[in-house]
Symmetry: C2
Subunit: 491 residues, 2 copies
């Protein structure tokens, strides 16, 4: 094994050392580098990862625009006094804020927060823009970065002091309108995971004691990671009237009566990239569904001196056909690398489909297609290569989704008392469901010993315990169970 | 005139009070708001302006990707010690830097600069990524915001403390490669203005004493504004080897020799939006070329009670046809507004083409199309409306370009001594060209009394004075003229 080959190998085990394995994939597949000295907690997002983020952006942004959202851009900084106008926000974020105190060679009179989230600067503008019921609903979104100075260990895309995200902010005439908006965005987030990233997710709401600062309800999509932990993969908040009241969003209704608006906010961050990388990748490296892969298919010609011209010409023709059809294809005709090295490299980099072309393929007018990640190899005819490749993209997506779904289905377990919850979580990880009275105190006996928490509660309509017959009691206390709680460790 | 009508009118004169007129268009067309109290110099970019920025991004980003550029994302903050590694950068930007000094409830050990530009954080990573000549050229770009704490008065999109831009950074094996890159990006910037924004620009280089800190050559596209000032509309820097040396970008060449790379950087900001708004807009409001207009065409049905159903059905059919063809069309069928109000509003908002549909149009199977900005009205047949509308987009673009070109052509004047330069600038504004020895001292006698400077020098190949016969002497001193200088006031 040459130095080069060694460099391509992933040495950590996904199942035994998930964290180390993840860090190695991120680094060796060229997804991210750590920030400079003195800036722990920051990362550099390299082109291969950024390209995936751009495709996710394109997918989600199109959905936003189809459903009435307009993009805008608000200042990076928020004056301290603005942050303080919404006391829940300032309490929620104060310990994590980075402050600009000097600029232009002067001390500033007022500290400026680098935005940790933008409710407190966006809402006052919404208040200016809304006058009449005709201005509602009003929906703005921005794609930007935010800074939250968390002290915990850096995990690229999962936990960083600066992260890329989108934050949407809307105002509505009625509570129903705001609730509908909240759910529309949550469904769009679920679609990003399921339809684009080939990852099934659970949809529900955070327990009341764990909502976003100032929110009435925080809804969430949760994704299961291979180490049995849950990732909060996108949240959509029904803010009720608390922000409208703090920032005075009023409008005149159809009867010229002055009324207070209802608002929402919702965000999805590059944590989606982290969850994607962790879910599908393996010990050969990165695995990506075709919809987001920067290179969807690589054509690798395999020749000897006497067959080189024919093989290369054939391979070029195949690559050209795919390129013309808008498929992201790379022809790897490097002289200085052998086919085995190329296979390893493209597997490491997460190219979903490989086309191998040697003298036999040329002679028989065929192609050999190899799927990532399972290595399934299929021989197909050269005719209709565009259609064929698209079909195989669908197959790769379906395989990835099915594997993730099977894992998730096996990792939701029921329990009905404290010992059972703790034992099941300790033995298996994943989600443990249990009847719950709704009281934060009944989370403590699980959280304290196990660092697991209630990551989600199904929506009322999906939860048989809501308006049930009262037969079930809380797994922790003796009170009636109001809801089904999903306990899990989480990122 | 109702209150509403008054609100739509632009009251300032473009020719007499260009600055006030510009501020009024920006505000009334809903392009930007000023930042919150305590944050003068910041603006909020509203959806109509942001949508134009997105189209500009799409246009330029596609060109970047077609020519080997990959997008990435680097941290928002730069440790002070990194900034200091490139002394020219730190000297150039230090007075304008905003510093984060506290975060997570603690004083930081080292101040972090909010990036004013990212050479000093990106170049060290490029240094890690480049090992062999096979890694070159290496090209990364990021779309982000930067902060420069300038004390001058805020002018939305022209001068703000935070602005959106892209910054590209590349490394090359040879000086020629870096120079070619510099010019490729400058040409792409010129194309943004000429092909997308319908604005002719001048291409050239900054005088040596006005290059970017650390650069060997700064190339620029300059655009003429209606008040006779020049805008630096995009710059592309040949950085030579100064950054490669400071940050150690070396590579092994084909003979395994260690060599120092050559680098470039290039940026275009939302100042392009400012220049666009100022160039084409008028006293009815915003004017946009169809390529960037958020709404390209508005269909306004004009009915009486007895014709309403027919007119509306016909108008809807037209709007649907356009929408199906991917044209950004709005059907303005509001009941509560009369056609005159609608015309004014869409003119204010810069919709390039209006289609008026009344009973006559329905009867004759026709459409009345009205161009923004000149109000030219043309009757066309209903058949082939998609093709017709596209042709009219081309006409509107051509009109805008021709008008801007005519203005620019008339605003370049020659002068050959100091009095002539000052007199011509004083009387007309615009550009005054004069033979120049190349010495910074010969800019002073113009700069000091007039606040005009050498905004551009044509490239060597375009300048007859380079390698000329030495007959011409500098307009200020008696030395031989080396180059033609373009004097102008500038933003």
């Amino acid at each position: 094994m040459s130095d080069d080959d060694q460099e391509l190998g992933i040495t950590e085990s996904k199942s035994h050392n998930t964290g180390e394995w993840y860090a190695e994939v991120v680094q060796k597949a060229g997804l991210a580098d750590y920030g400079p000295e003195g800036m722990s907690g920051f990362i550099v997002t390299r082109p291969r990862a950024y390209a995936v983020w751009e495709r996710l952006q394109g997918f989600l942004d199109a959905k936003f625009k189809d459903t009435g959202v307009q993009n805008a851009y608000f200042p990076l900084f928020i004056p301290e006094s603005y942050l303080e106008r919404e006391k829940d926000i300032v309490e929620g974020f104060d310990p994590e804020v980075a402050w600009v105190t000097e600029a232009g060679n002067q001390e500033l009179e007022e500290r400026l927060a680098v935005r940790p989230t933008s409710e407190s600067i966006i809402t006052p503008y919404i208040s200016q823009w809304v006058r009449s019921h005709r201005d509602l609903p009003l929906r703005v979104n921005q794609w930007c970065s935010v800074v939250r100075w968390e002290a915990t260990e850096t995990k690229p895309f999962f936990r960083t002091k600066e992260f890329l995200w989108q934050e949407g902010h809307t105002a509505h005439a009625t509570a129903e309108g705001a609730w509908e908006e909240t759910m529309t965005r949550l469904d769009q987030y679920a679609s990003v995971y399921e339809d684009l990233l080939a990852m099934p997710v659970l949809k529900g709401q955070k327990p009341d004691h764990d909502t976003f600062p100032g929110a009435e309800t925080t809804t969430t999509v949760e994704a299961l990671m291979p180490d049995g932990k849950s990732v909060q993969a996108g949240t959509s908040h029904h803010l009720g009237q608390s922000f409208a009241e703090a920032f005075d969003i009023t409008f005149s209704d159809e009867d010229e009566e002055e009324r207070l608006a209802h608002t929402t906010s919702w965000g999805l961050s590059w944590r989606a990239l982290g969850a994607l990388i962790m879910t599908h990748s393996d010990e050969q490296g990165l695995v990506l569904p075709p919809g987001v892969a920067p290179e969807q298919v690589v054509v690798v010609p395999i020749w000897q001196e006497d067959t080189k011209d024919d093989v290369l010409a054939y391979a070029e023709g195949v690559a050209d056909d795919l390129d013309d059809a808008g498929i992201r294809v790379e022809l790897d005709d490097r002289d200085e690398r052998n086919p085995g090295f190329k296979f390893n490299e493209h597997e490491l980099n997460g190219v979903p489909l490989r086309i191998e072309i040697g003298p036999h393929e040329v002679e028989d007018d065929e192609l050999t297609l190899v799927h990532r990640p399972d290595g399934e190899s299929v021989v197909e005819g050269r005719d209709g290569v565009v259609e064929t490749v698209r079909d195989h993209f669908d197959e790769v997506y379906a395989k990835l989704y099915a594997a993730a779904e099977e894992t998730l289905d096996g990792e939701v377990r029921e329990a009905d008392d404290r010992a059972d919850i703790l034992g099941t979580l300790g033995q298996h990880g994943g989600y443990v469901t249990a009847p719950w009275c709704g009281d934060e105190e009944c989370e403590e006996p699980i959280k304290e010993p196990m660092a697991a928490e209630i990551v989600m509660v199904p929506f009322e309509d999906d939860d048989p315990l809501v308006d049930g017959d009262g037969d079930e009691t809380c797994a922790i206390c003796d009170a009636d169970a109001e809801r089904t709680a999903y306990f899990a460790k989480s990122y």
